[in-house]
Each structure stands twice: as C-alpha cells, then as structure tokens.
C-alpha cells in the first residue's frame, strides 16, 4: 500500500501563507517572516488533509469562519510553536538565578515567606520544574509559600506539563542526583515527584491576552526565555508591559540569551550578575499611569 505521505498533498502558496500568517499574528501576536513558509506547510498540511479540505485557502477560511475555527486555531498554533526543550537548559543563567537572585529574594521576602515565579512560555513544563528543583535544593525556603506558575499558549503542552512525565531526551543536562531525587521511573518515562508538582501550577495563556494574564498572581521573578522571538516589536512591547504589571517592585525578568529589551521597554533596570544580565523592575517603580506601585 502506498503511504499517504507519498501522495500529492496540498501546496502552500505565498498568498495563503500571508493570510495564515496574519491570522496567527492577529490572534496570538506571533510573528513569522517569509522564511517560515516551509515550516507552515510542513506542520499544517496534515490538518488540511485531516479536515478534508482542498487546499490551504480552505484551511484559512475554516480557521476564520467555521464555528470550530477557534479550536483549530489553537491546534495550528500548537503545531507551529511546539519546541523541543529539556531540564536545566541555559545553565549559566540558572546558576546566576540560584547563586545570586535566590539568596537576595530569600532576604527581601523573609517577612512574608512567600515567593512566586512565572515561567512564561513554559512549553511542556521542563523549565518550571527546573526552577522548582532549584528552589527546593537551595534550602532557603523551607515552609515558605512557594509557587511556580508555568504558562503556555498551547493546550497540549500545558496538559503535558501537568502530567509531568518525561522521556530520556529531556534529561540531557540533568545530573544523576537530581534525577534520582526528583523523578520516579514510570511505564512511559520519568515522572516528576509530588513535592515538585505541589508547587508548580500550569495554565494556558496567550501572552497577548492582557485580561487573562491578570489572573497570574504577582510574582517575584519571570522567566521568559526564547519566547519573544516569536513576536514583532509591537507585540513584544505589549507582552513586556504585561510582565511589568505582574512583577512585584524589585522583581526580576530573565530573558533568553539572544533576547533583550532594547527598543522594547525602558521601564526596567539592567542588572549585571556574575554570569548573566537580567532586568529588574525598579523598587518603588511608577506605573505607566503615573501611580507609584
């Protein structure tokens, strides 16, 4: 039998690509340049065929006008943004967080004994659980109210994060000790320990959706690594404004190694750590509307 993948399939034309690209931008602020055309075709052609549509223009109309369009839009975005990740990624930054930021936060928050961290664009949860491991391993926050909130635009990624079961590839930079202490082998991989699950909360969030972002509690640190690359300048500003709102004064924003707030926002202070540069919301900062926070 001939594999269906060998049969002729729908081709994505330039016009359809632009229509789809604009739709994803409008919905989620995701920005793709012309090079992404091949990515679109490769990741979405299965959906065109699964829905019995003739071509990508039909798929565009389905997304835009069919009552089931919003659900399919989520599916499409999920396919386009799914990225591979693993525990303890960008270790130099995590060391800076562990060695310099956590001790400082333990001191500044000592009275209220509460610490909140947001992993924005957490994909399948590896980053959020990594942060939780660092918090517990530090020994600085015993009996504190700890909360790591992971959010992602992809529903499937959030569900996977909640499930907390990972395959071997996710542990490529994880030490044996950490793996032994915080994971248990199960049938289909390694499962995150309950003590980590207890402090990690996940939600589906479009960072461009300011209303829903308000449901994230005030946090002391935001990790948003390798997410801003998907947004254009205007959308980035909007997302960063949202982060500013959710950070407590003196709270930190940690971006990916190739990302910065250059031309995006001047509301944050740049802080030089030993191994990294991070942004901080000034203590006693003024809100954009002129009120002191």
């Amino acid at each position: 039998m001939i594999s269906s993948r060998l049969l002729p399939h729908a081709q994505l034309g330039t016009e359809e690509f632009r229509l789809l690209r604009d739709l994803f931008y409008e919905h989620a602020g995701l920005h793709y340049d012309d090079d992404a055309m091949f990515l679109f075709e490769r990741r979405l052609v299965d959906r065109v065929e699964a829905l019995g549509l003739e071509d990508f223009y039909g798929y565009y109309k389905y997304l835009r006008f069919d009552p089931r369009g919003p659900g399919e839009l989520e599916e499409a975005i999920e396919r386009l943004t799914t990225k591979e990740t693993y525990f303890f990624r960008q270790e130099y930054q995590l060391r800076a967080f562990r060695d310099q930021l956590l001790p400082e936060l333990a001191q500044t928050n000592a009275t209220r004994r509460r610490l909140g961290i947001w992993s924005a664009g957490c994909a399948t949860g590896e980053e959020a659980y990594t942060i939780a491991i660092l918090l517990l391993e530090s020994g600085l926050f015993r009996n504190w109210d700890l909360k790591v909130v992971g959010s992602d635009i992809c529903r499937g990624s959030v569900a996977a994060a909640r499930r907390g079961i990972y395959r071997e590839a996710a542990f490529r930079t994880t030490t044996h000790e950490v793996r032994h202490h915080f994971f248990a082998r199960v049938d289909d991989g390694c499962e995150v320990a309950p003590e980590l699950k207890k402090i990690c909360h996940f939600g589906q969030l479009n960072l461009m959706d300011g209303g829903r972002a308000l449901m994230i509690p005030q946090v002391d640190v935001i990790f948003c690594r390798n997410v801003l690359i998907y947004f254009d300048m205007k959308s980035r500003r909007r997302v960063i404004d949202g982060f500013y709102e959710r950070l407590t004064p003196g709270g930190y924003l940690l971006l990916g190694h190739s990302e910065s707030l250059l031309n995006v926002s001047t509301a944050f202070e740049l802080v030089h750590l030993r191994e990294d540069l991070v942004y901080r919301k000034p203590v006693g900062a003024w809100r954009f509307n002129g009120q002191r926070t």
Binding site: R155, R162, R163, G164, K197, K198, L205, D209, G211, L214
Partner: protein
C-alpha cells in the same frame, strides 16, 4: 369589465360532474351570484357536489349576502343534506359567521337552532360562547344538549364564563340536557364538588357519566361507588370507570387510601379482568389506564404488568406511576426483574425500587445497587448511584468515592458527585474520615474535594491544611479533579482561596475555567463579603471569549456586589444579545432598588430574547413601576414576548386585568390569546386544564 359567470344551466345540469365543476367555478363569479349558486349546490342531491361546494366556501369572501343565504339554509326544510352542508360551510367562515348565526337564531325552529349551535361550535371562536350560553336556556332540550356539547367542543379561552350556565344545566328538567352537561363539564376539565354529582348518580341514564366524573371530585366518598361499579363494567365503560379511579387516586393521599381500602373487597374475577386489560396488546389507552388503576387499587400481583410495560415507551409513565402507588409491595419484583433485564430495564428497576423501598426492604435495594456500581452500562451505574443516595448508609461512601478514581463518563461522574454529596451530608463523620485519608493531588482528592465541600472545614486538621490540599488538587493532571477542587475551595477557602481559583482561570480545560469563574462568584469571606469581584470584573472587561465573558457576568451577579453594577448596567444595552441577556440575568440577583432601572432598559432592546430576559427578571420584582412596563410588553411585536408578558402579569393579580383584557381585545395570535386567557383565569381563582383532565373550578 364584466365578471365571469357560471355557464348557463350548469347548476341544474343532469350531470353531477358538471354541477361539481360549477361549484368550483363559483370562486370566480360575482359574490351575489355566488351566494345563490352556493346554496343551490350545498343542497345538491349528490354528496360530491355538496362536498365541493363546502370546500369552495373557504375561498369566498364572507359577504353579508352569502352569510345570510347560508343561515337561511338552516330554516325548516326537508333537504337534510343542505342543512348539514350549511352548518359545515358556516363553520368554515369562522368569526364572520358568528354574528350572522346569532342574528338568525330567533327566527329558526328548534332543529335550526340546534344546527346553529353546531355551526357555532365549528367556528371555533370565543365570540360564539355568549351565543351558546344563551342557547343553554332554550326551551327545547335538544337545543340545550347541542349547546352544551358545542361549548364543551369549543374548549377555548373564555369558556369559564359560560361554565356557571353549564352547571345550571345539571338541574335542567330534561335528563338528556343533564347528561350532556355532566359530559360537557368533564370534557372541559371542570371539577365539580362531590355533593353536586352524588345526587345525580342514582339516575340510570346519568350513572355512567357521573361515575366517569366523580373521580375528579377528589372526595374519598367517591371510592365506594367507583369500586362497586367495576364488577359490572365492561368495554368502554370499564375504561372510563378506571380512568375515574385514577383521577381519584391522583387527587391526594386521603382519597387514594380510601380507594385501596374499598378495593380490598374487590372480587378476584374483577381484579383478573383489570389485570387482563393491563396486559392486552391492543388499545394502549385502555392498557395505560388499567395499569394505573391496578396501582391505585393496590392490586397484589400487579407489579408484573407494570414492569412489563416499563419497556414500552408509551406506557412507561403509567407503569412508573402505578408502581409508585403499589409502593413497597413492588420492591421485591423490581429487584428480581433488575437482575435479569437489559441495561435500560435494569436501571429503571433499581431506580424505582429505591424510591419505593421502606425500612423492611431498603437493605436489599442497597445490596443490589452496590453490585450495580460495577455494571458496564453507564445508565445502570447512574441508577445505582441515585438509589444509594436514597437508601445508602455510611458503608456506601467508600464504594461511591472509588468510582471517581476511574475513567467514568461525564454523566456518571456527575451522578457520583451528587450521590457522594448526599451521603456526606447524611453521614458527616464518616465523610470527614474518608476525606482526611485521601492522598494530595491523587485521584482520591476528587472525592475528598466533594466531601470537604459538603462537610466543611476542618477535615485535615485545619482550614489551612484543607485549602492546601484543595490547591494541590488543582495541580492534578486530571481535569475532573481540578474541576471538583474549585467549588470546594470556594465553599471553604475564604481569602486563602482567591489566588488558586484565579489561577485556574488560565486552565487549559474549558470546563475547569468555567468552574473557576463560577467559584469566584460564590467565594465569600467569613463575614459574607464577595472575594472574587476584582478578578471577575477584570475578566468581564477583557474576557478572551464569549463563553468566559458571559460566565463572568453571571458570576458577578452571584456576588451581588455593588462593584459589579457599573459593568453590568451598560451591558443591558449591548449589541450582543448574549451579553445583554447575561447582564440582565446577573442583575436579577441584585437588590431591587439597584437593578430595576437597568432591567426596565432591557425592555427596549431590539433583540426579543433580551426583552424576554428582562420581562422574566422584572417578573420577580415587587416594584410598583414594573407593572406599567410589563403591560407595554404586551404590545411587543414579537409574539413570544407578548406571551411571556401575559404569563408574568398573571402573578400580579387583579391590577393586571385591565392591560390583559385590553390586549385580548386586539390580540390575534392564538398562543398569546391562550396565555392571556390563562392569566385572566388565574386571577379569578379559576383553573381549567382540559389535558390532563384535572381541574378545580369550584372550591371544595
């Protein structure tokens, strides 16, 4: 220009087919010519010609000369065919014929007046009722009988006004008039007091009609004559008498008990005959009535017939009602049947057995229901859960809780939560113990969340520990567990629950998000202050989708918090009808003074669904201004708004009568007219309900 005419001689042609074609041609001729021709053809010797002529009437305009010609055909004549066809033709003219008949009645003989009554009945018009009411006093008994039958046949709004005259006919000197009155009043669903009927029951001619009516009196004294009549009743009389038995049983526990007492003396042959009728494959109506009567009479051994009928969609209702009347007597046969039935039958048997069980057989039902929890059919499991809610003891808590750990269907899951909550409320200590043993964030936390919500904190040592446990449940991979934790947090968590519930608004599962919204609406501090308002306001202002937006509006309504008003009030005028309806429903929960102006605004919304929501919400109000605004809604262009307004105004009593009457005078839509009629009837304390045949016209 000349009007077309009928070809010469066609009306009197020897060929019936030519005359039939001439009748059809009347539709195209001058009205004056049509009238004369029509009367000729209505009296034609050939029935096909007469039938064609009657059908032509529906296409003609109700010209006065045509109506006059038709009415004159009711005058004495040997042509019976013409008179009958004239009745049919006049009836087809509806409201236009009523005045013409009324004006002509005085000049007609008794037969003509009788036919006039029949024609009036055929018009189906409320305006015919006063005319028929007058005929009830006719010196000729045949006319009276026809008038009574006509009124009963009309059965339309306004008929109550002639009911006193109909009741007067029960004292008419002519026994046929009395008979027609008894039958007519029964057909109209009018309930008469026992005393009124009792004095008629000894008249031989009226005996059956009275027996068929006395069940509806609801008087326990009716039990003896009804049961006594059964041995000699046959065929249709037996069915009517049994129907009356059922009416009496439905009237209340006293009359139902009286029936069972009298039925103890019923001979075996009669019981057998009723059982046979209940088992017969023919005549569903008779079978259904017999099934009900077996239960009403408490006939031992009748459960089998009722159980057989449970499989028949059309008899299922009667079978269940019959089993209800049989009560604990039916439990053992039900359980026996449950063990060897298909899933739907098994489910029904378990459900009914639980309802009928008393202390002597509750344990047997419990055992059967616990076994059924493992049944592969979801409907059986749901029935078993319902049964355990009724007859379960504390030993059942764990078995029910275990179901929430599996992969149950949503319907089974909901039924399990309900059953668990009912049992927890009844056995709080056992529920607390079970909830305290659940492992955090495991599937056990689903049941534990339900139990904590019902029994309240502290379950796991302290309020904080309970909230921690429920917040941990929100990290579960199972959406069901997360969804169950939210209402529990809202019920017990107070301020500690705000953050976890708010975070759940970002849950990837729609059902969990919506539950989080509702939970925020219900979240209160110990002092009763609404704690989720800020989050709900934010959500209402910037919800990501319609569903969340509307859920947020409704939840804001649940808070009854003044901060919600500036959000809700302007939305009443929203161009999005869904949002406007949600805002109105939310405002409905606010104290009177704060909401009334906004709700009145809703009455002028262009979308009728919004107006209906406003009418419904205003219907709950006692504000004096509301009546005038609701009265205006009686003139709304949408018929369903007018009908709803009439239904709502019915609750206002006499002060709503003038606008309702004013609207009735001009209303053309039959459904709205019916609603207005119903409203007006309710105001005079009268009630008429032709189906089902129970009513209460006179105070008992």
């Amino acid at each position: 220009m000349t009007s077309p005419s009928i070809p010469g001689g066609a009306l009197t042609s020897d060929d019936p087919e030519e005359r039939r074609r001439a009748a059809r041609a009347l539709l195209d001729v001058e009205p004056v010519l049509a009238a004369a021709g029509l009367v000729t053809l209505l009296g034609d010797e050939d029935w096909r010609v007469r039938k064609e002529a009657v059908s032509v009437v529906q296409g003609l305009a109700p010209e006065p000369n045509l109506l006059a010609a038709l009415v004159s055909a009711l005058s004495p004549s040997d042509n019976v065919g013409l008179r009958n066809a004239a009745v049919e033709a006049l009836g087809a003219f509806g409201v236009d014929a009523v005045d013409a008949i009324a004006a002509a009645l005085r000049g007609l003989d008794a037969d003509g007046r009788k036919l006039g009554a029949e024609a009036l009945a055929r018009t189906g018009q409320a305006t015919a009722l006063p005319v028929l009411g007058g005929l009830l006093r006719d010196p000729d008994p045949n006319v009276c009988v026809a008038a009574v039958e006509a009124i009963a046949g009309l059965g339309i709004d306004g008929v109550l006004e002639v009911v006193p005259a109909l009741i007067g006919c029960l004292d008419a000197p002519d026994e046929f008039t009395r008979l027609a009155a008894v039958d007519g009043l029964r057909a109209l669903g009018v309930t008469l007091p026992w005393e009124r009927l009792a004095r008629l029951k000894d008249e031989k001619l009226l005996e059956q009609a009275v027996l068929a009516s006395i069940g509806r009196t609801g008087d326990a004294r009716a039990a003896l004559p009804l049961v006594s009549a059964l041995p000699s009743a046959r065929g249709g009389t037996l069915v009517e008498t049994l129907r009356s038995v059922v009416d009496l049983a439905r009237a209340g526990p006293v009359s139902a008990r009286a029936l069972k007492n009298e039925a103890q003396a019923l001979d075996p042959a009669t019981r057998e005959r009723v059982i046979e009728l209940a088992s017969s494959a023919e005549g569903r109506d008779g079978r259904g009535v017999a099934l009900l009567a077996l239960g009403a009479l408490g006939v031992q051994g009748a459960a089998g017939q009722a159980l057989d009928a449970l499989d028949d969609e059309l008899l299922q209702g009667a079978a269940e009602e019959s089993l209800d009347w049989l009560g604990p007597l039916a439990v053992a046969p039900l359980l026996e049947r449950a063990s060897n039935s298909a899933p739907s039958g098994r489910a029904a048997c378990i459900e009914i057995a639980a309802r009928l069980a008393d202390e002597t057989n509750a344990a047997a039902v419990r055992t059967e229901a616990l076994t059924a929890l493992a049944d592969p059919a979801p409907e059986v499991v749901r029935a078993a859960l319902g049964a355990l809610s009724a007859v379960g003891d504390e030993s059942c808590l764990e078995a029910v809780a275990r179901l929430l750990g599996g992969d149950a269907t949503p319907a089974v899951r909901r039924a399990t939560e309900t059953s668990l909550a009912v049992l927890a409320a009844r056995f709080a200590d056992a529920a607390r113990d079970l909830a305290s043993r659940a492992r955090p964030a495991s599937l056990e936390s689903h049941a534990a969340a339900v139990l904590i919500r019902v029994v309240g904190p502290p379950v796991r040592g302290s309020l904080e520990a309970d909230v921690d446990f429920l917040a941990a449940a929100l990290t579960s991979a199972s959406p069901s567990v997360r969804r169950a934790a939210l209402p529990a947090l809202a019920a017990v968590g107070g301020a500690l629950a705000v953050e976890p519930i708010a975070l759940a608004l970002t849950d990837e599962e729609r059902e969990v998000r919506l539950t989080a919204v509702r939970s925020l609406g219900r979240l209160r501090s110990a002092e009763g202050e609404a704690l989720g308002v800020a989050q709900l306001v934010a959500l209402a202002e910037r919800a990501p989708d319609d569903e969340m937006h509307i859920a947020a509006l409704l939840a804001l309504g649940e808070t009854s918090d003044p901060r919600a008003l500036p959000i809700l009030r302007p939305l009443v005028r929203s161009g999005d009808p869904k949002a406007a309806v949600a805002a109105i429903e939310a405002l409905g929960a606010f104290p009177e003074a704060r909401r009334i102006e906004a709700l009145i605004d809703g009455l002028s919304h262009p979308a009728s669904e919004v107006v209906k929501a406003a009418v419904r919400a205003l219907g709950e109000s006692s504000d004096g201004r509301v009546l005038a605004h609701l009265a205006v809604s009686l003139d709304h262009e949408a018929w369903d708004v007018r009908r709803l307004a009439a239904d709502v105004l019915a609750h206002y009593g006499d002060i709503a009568t003038p606008p309702l009457r004013a609207r009735l005078a001009v209303e053309e839509d039959p459904l709205v007219r019916e609603a207005i009629g119903r409203a007006l009837e309710s105001m005079v304390g009268a009630h008429r309900s032709p189906l089902p045949t129970r009513g209460s016209y006179l105070p008992r």
